[in-house]
Assembly symmetry: C2
Homo-oligomer: 163 residues x 2
């Protein structure tokens, strides 16, 4: 298992879908994961330190874990099948540790809120990652366009962050 960090989020100009970029902590590989609008908003708001007027779903998830005495130990981006990524949360309470299946987007939004590390496998980075030391590896990201996209989608709770 290798630790990755959230390196960037934006709207992929080619697919017009939000994408989050994970970056190998001790290496040059990145892993782009295409995600939904609500989860992109949750990740972007946390990265920018912006609070919503009402708790968003991932803020609620955090409060529930904390209120129940749980601790998010780590998030693992575990596999990819037909371009769909799968992940797991590892949660501890007292001496009991349990695992919950999740989407990578939810896992990342929650890991950022609870300062938990994000891991993936060497194999997944090799097969689905990109080398940043080769020319033009990044998907064509646009942070401003993500804000516009999210505001249009849900003016009540989305797109309040400043990219």
């Amino acid at each position: 298992m290798l630790e990755v960090t959230v390196s960037d989020i934006g709207l992929d100009r080619n697919t017009n879908s939000p994408v989050v970029i994970l970056r190998e902590r001790d290496g040059a590989r990145i892993l782009p994961i295409w995600i939904g609008a609500a989860e992109a908003n949750a990740i972007a708001m946390e990265l920018k330190g912006v609070k919503a007027q009402r708790p968003l779903t991932h803020d609620l998830l955090k409060q529930v874990i904390v209120g129940l005495g749980g601790e998010l130990r780590r998030v693992v981006i575990s596999s990819v099948k037909e371009n769909t990524y799968f992940a797991e949360l590892l949660i501890r309470r007292d001496d009991h540790v349990f695992q919950v299946d999740a989407r990578p987007s939810d896992s990342i939004a929650l890991a950022l809120r609870l300062n938990a590390p994000i891991f993936t496998s060497d194999q997944l980075l090799d097969e689905s990652g990109l080398q940043t030391d080769e020319p033009a590896p990044d998907p064509s990201l646009d942070a401003d366009k993500l804000k516009e996209y999210l505001e249009k989608m849900d003016p009540q709770d989305f797109g309040k962050f400043n990219p």
Copy 2:
């Protein structure tokens, strides 16, 4: 406090926004609440009994509560300020009960998954509700249009239910 149930969900033709309708259990008043796309999808999928390929955020929230030994006792739609609704979850674990602020949409999506009752106040129903025994009280709802709207928004995880 009065119990309400989820009576309908659809796309409001006037505002082009998803709306969920709560109905007084022992009375004739309804409470329409305009909600976001992701939460509308979470509510609609649960109402239709459709499972996503990967757990959606509210499925994850449910698994986390269950895994940590918590019990969702009830949801309360507590207040409305400038057309924005606020809600609270009441969660119990052993002898400890705590309250978490939430959006009504998240609260409803979770209450349906955990078979928890939904309450609101007589005052809120009076001030923001509609009488169903008067002519044409409902917002102009369209269930098919909601499905279309959600599929367009997030083809990967949304709009898989049959309205």
